[in-house]
Symmetry: C2
Subunit: 216 residues, 2 copies
């Protein structure tokens, strides 16, 4: 069978090997892809709002946040999504706002369609279970880190995550101090102060507010 445009798109996908879809056979992939929606997001764009009858899919590039808004108006980021991560839930509406923290690209599907792909591909369903479990443990780990760790420990953990995402100890911070603060349960002033302290102590080097070097 000749390769369709859909085949080509998936073969060229930046997260081809990491995304859930890697469990799919070529023809199933093509079927799914016929209904896929690609979107590019700019920093700050709202992908879905809590409770939306949203689509689900894969994050291809960039960073997204899942965020709550507290009664008194400020935000708490409950999870960060990196390329390859699954966006949304298969059977339920999202329980958090999903927002781009940097320029990002996503590949989305109607939930029902994705659910039926899960039906016929048990391997993918198992992968989804494993990832959901992983996300749960991730959230629990953040609980301990963020509740018991000092502001410094929190910032260092996030810098380490970002360095891993960027693939190098020297990189441009893809998110603002405010975004970091929301993710860490701190204020942006505290994040800034902590970074100054880390810098003074030689744990961190900077060139301008974005360019940093953070060795684990």
């Amino acid at each position: 069978m000749a390769k369709t445009a859909a085949d080509l798109i998936c073969e060229a996908c930046a997260v081809r090997d990491r995304a859930l879809c890697s469990a799919l056979s070529a023809d199933e992939l093509a079927t799914l892809n016929r209904h896929s929606i690609r979107r590019s997001l700019a920093r700050g764009d709202l992908l879905f709002r809590e409770g939306d009858d949203a689509l689900c899919g894969n994050l291809i590039a960039g960073i997204l946040k899942l965020a709550d808004v507290t009664a008194d108006g400020d935000a708490q980021t409950v999870a960060l999504l990196f390329p390859g991560d699954f966006i949304g839930g298969v059977s339920a509406a999202p329980r958090h706002d999903i927002v781009a923290l940097s320029a990002a690209q996503v590949c989305l599907f109607p939930r029902a369609l994705f659910a039926s792909a899960l039906e016929s591909h048990r391997r993918m369903e198992k992968m989804l279970l494993a990832r959901t479990h992983e996300a749960m443990e991730n959230a629990r780990g953040r609980l301990t880190l963020l509740l018991r760790g000092s502001a410094e420990a929190r910032v260092e953990a996030l810098l380490a995550d970002l360095a891993a995402y960027e693939g190098s100890p020297t990189f441009d911070l893809p998110i603002t101090r405010g975004d970091m603060a929301d993710a860490l349960g701190l204020t942006l002033e505290t994040v800034s102060r902590v970074m100054s302290r880390l810098k003074a102590r030689g744990r961190l080097e900077t060139q301008g507010p974005k360019r940093v070097r953070f060795a684990v």
Copy 2:
């Protein structure tokens, strides 16, 4: 077919309708049950330690906690388990210590056996996915509550959970101030002070340190 002892045990199970096993047919239930292990736990008993090659199963009665121990020695409870909740993971060792916060009863299975039951009962696998998702959202919700909420908001939320578990606004607190503190990322002194404040303000009534009345 005559009912076996195993059948009877499950039929009499206090969480018969709420536990994952409710998805199983009678004979599958009997098979699983032939290898089930029932244990009674006293307050403080360690069921499994992080990384143990543990069993999995159902919590039948009582309250368990999943807890981390931080570098400096104090504990952080990352989740509370109530009757009907699933204990442990099917394919992975537990990542937290599992400890009884009150007298408790559990029904355990070898992981491999439970995994094969999941294979043949897709409905149960779906239930497990849904529960894992629920646990993930629960952990994320706690993140927002515990990071952005004041000590008072945290204590009130836990009191509400416990009231729901007890099924009445008037009940005996099943866990100590220290356990509450670990679950809330506070110290036991702060929990005690907050409860005194709530009492002074009429939000809470007490008769001795255990008996409380907390209306949502």
